[in-house]
Symmetry: C2
Subunit: 188 residues, 2 copies
Amino acid sequence: MADNLFCQKLPVLIKYSDLEERKCSIQVSVDVQIATSPHHRKELVIRLTDENDLFFLYTLKLNEEDFQSLKSQQGLLVDFSSFPQSVIDLLELCLKEEANTVPKFVLHLVTTSKLGVNSGPSHLNVVETNPFKHLTHLSLKLLPGSDTDIKKYLATCLSQLKEYTTKLERSAENKESDLTQRLAQTQQ
Amino acid sequence: MADNLFCQKLPVLIKYSDLEERKCSIQVSVDVQIATSPHHRKELVIRLTDENDLFFLYTLKLNEEDFQSLKSQQGLLVDFSSFPQSVIDLLELCLKEEANTVPKFVLHLVTTSKLGVNSGPSHLNVVETNPFKHLTHLSLKLLPGSDTDIKKYLATCLSQLKEYTTKLERSAENKESDLTQRLAQTQQ
């Protein structure tokens, strides 16, 4: 039971180390779901994927308890129920700034090692650049997907794409036969 | 560099234990590929997948050395270069017998444990049933895919399906605009 609140491709500056970085277009999704184990509770799920690298998967799962510690660490002023929208507002700021040559708000993904190679936790930072300094509005710790996670994620993508393709095949056939029929009738 | 020689859905009787079995339609592919590590050599790759269970993946990779031991164990009379075709001939026998109420040739997948749950090696057997006994023509040891194997396999499927879907979208659009145009011209 997941409720998707946001799903967009966003420019992300991936920083592997102090020396190496590259700009990527990364799919960022924000979901609220009800975790069933150990007991029912709301969870915010933020997921980063890259359609050009199917093994790229970073996830944050945050329940109310985790949020309280994040809130005190980063001095947040919102509560758990409004936090998803606050995150989305920040992401939309970054999206809006995308076209600017010097965007004011940018997303950084700071990771300790190259993707897939024993990568540890990484941080997705929403950074505002003002003339004085880089200001981190929010820093979220994301975990790289394990093989099991990636396997499950790809299976879901594949099922969804299969469903879409089947519908597309059917609708294309219907449209074609409909138009061919109308064409034949008109030509008579 | 893989050369696909055979790819068909075949009826397979999956036997989890002496007590439990179920009949499935399993995709069986036979490929010959050049393995690059540790050095270049030909490899026969047989893969079992199930489109209704995306995590179902069993693989056999057999090089010439493995084949020699299989040949002596099972008293085979063919050599490595003609073995792929012999396997395909047996699979086609099973396919031909599919429609019969009492098929003479059947495929059994004998596995020690339920799929995905710490499953060890399994055996794909080509079994002939004559009035006297079950005669195993060939028994191939297949390994269940690890999470990494399944992840890679699903990524390949997803890429191929994406490519197909993109082509389909384009061709459907072209056909529709072509027919719509012809319809408009005819109606004028």
